[in-house]
Amino acid sequence: MEIVFQTMANGLLVGALYGLVALGFALLMGVMKFLNTAHGTFIILGGYLSYWLLELWGIDPFVSLPLVVMAMFLIGIAFYKLALSPLLKLPNIGMRINTSMLITFGSIWVLDNTMTLLWTPDVRSIMTSYTGQTLKLLGVRFSLTGLGGVGVAVLVALALYFILSGTYFGKHIRAATQDAVAASLCGINVQRTYLFSCGIAIALAGVAGMVVVSSYSISSTAGIGWLSSAFVVMVLAGEGNINAIIPAGMLLGLIESAGLLVVGVSYRQAIALIVFIIVLMIKPQGLFAKKEYGS
């Protein structure tokens, strides 16, 4: 019985991470209709940044997080300018989604293999004084890094919520998504709005990467696995429903853990995928469907 509780607890921790992983992806896709298949790759990149900041300069990953966020924000802006901004000229949303999928897909090969060239495909993880230490709560062991990850995930999700619904900038994003032409007619600089949102989305990937490398590990080719998780969570939450992302992630974590008890470790990755396929077939608007931003 204790094993069950422990597995569930782990599931919640992993789930929070899944939610965090999905945030940036859902921002780009649900709100701006850009399918960034390279999202996992950016997560890995963020992880590498945290890793090297620790290895080379001894900065703890939780401390260097603001640096990573800023760096990834700038990378996101560059990425938008180079790869995504031409897509705004496309006549309809369907084409935008398909073309962004293909373009970011090409980026995966460029980025993944460049990282492999630079840093080898070796698996990297972070060792600090508190790595591997656990806290016992209610009879269950929680890893410190895992708890830190949950804290980061919740804080970031709240910040994002505040930005999107409380600030002018967030409303500009929503307006531009619903009708980019009408938004420009209101005086909103749609290109610049999207530019900054993409920066935010990639910065979010960077945060996820930092949590991944401190709680688990990264390698230059692991990106697609995280993309998979992000996709599943987004579909569970419902496209465009940013507020449901963390809860949906935690739900996925729980389901995966429950499934682990049944099928065993070697089929673990398949569980999330099967859940994904079932949801796609039966309730594609997501389990938390409550049409928020998209149209």
Binding site: R174, A175, V181, A182, A183, L185, C186, G187, N189, E292
Partner: protein, 236 residues
């Protein structure tokens, strides 16, 4: 105030406007009439910056607008109520109006402008927290006009206001527009398929056909002109 001189506009390789020139003076209501596909919306989209000209110039209060992006044109004082209204369906009425005040100058006086809009369109005040997509056609048109006014424009463009609306609503809107024009000396350029409506609202009018301006003049006299009568008013 608004000077359009000899512009050519293309959609790709297809020419839509030929050598179009017109002027609108301060405080005037000017209308452009013509049948479907004549180029009215093309002209509106060009002035507001959504389309680019290939020849000629567009000047507003002495400043060249034709190479500016759409959002900059709003900053220079021209605001458009687009064809089909194009309000933000998932945002509330209030949020839609707030979006209209996105430019810096308008943001500062946002609250005051909101009050004014609510006075002109009381129904918007009543429905402030409602999702814009749930409003009726006429209410959405009011919202679209209100949103455009939130940017404190010096020139207002209205593209096909009457489409899909009942005659009563259209009359009411027409009355409101004329009222705003008189009260604030707001320059208004209206594009319409409903020729009698347009010519009854406006001071002056232009007629466009197949991408070319074919007639212009005082609104009253246009209404009486034989050509207009024959082409658009179904006179015998």
């Amino acid at each position: 105030m608004l000077k359009i001189a000899h512009i050519d506009v293309y959609y790709g390789d297809l020419q839509a406007l030929w050598d179009v020139s017109l002027t609108i003076g301060e405080g005037e209501i000017v209308t452009l009439v013509g049948s479907n596909g004549a180029g009215k919306s093309t002209l509106m989209n060009t002035i507001s910056g959504l389309l680019k000209i290939r020849a000629g110039s567009i000047e507003f209060r002495g400043i060249r607008l034709d190479s500016l992006p759409a959002h900059s044109i709003v900053e220079h004082g021209i605001s458009m109520v687009p064809e089909g209204r194009r309000i933000f369906p998932q945002m509330t009425v209030l949020e839609n109006l707030e979006m209209g005040a996105s430019i810096h100058a308008a943001r500062k006086v946002r609250q005051k402008t909101l009050k004014e809009i609510y006075e002109v369109f009381p129904i918007l005040g009543e429905r402030a927290k409602q999702r814009a997509g749930t409003l009726s056609g006429g209410e959405q048109q009011m919202l679209a006009i209100g949103r455009a006014l939130m940017s404190q424009p010096k020139g207002l463009l209205i593209d096909e206001m009457s489409l899909g609306l009942s005659p009563l609503v259209v009359q009411e809107l027409s009355r409101v527009i004329q009222g705003i024009n008189k009260a604030n000396n707001l320059t208004i350029f209206v594009v319409e398929q409903d020729v009698p409506l347009a010519l009854s609202m406006a001071h002056r009018g232009y007629v466009i056909e197949n991408g070319r301006i074919i007639d212009q003049g005082d609104a009253k006299s246009l209404l009486c002109s034989a050509r207009i009568k024959e082409a658009y008013l179904g006179a015998a």
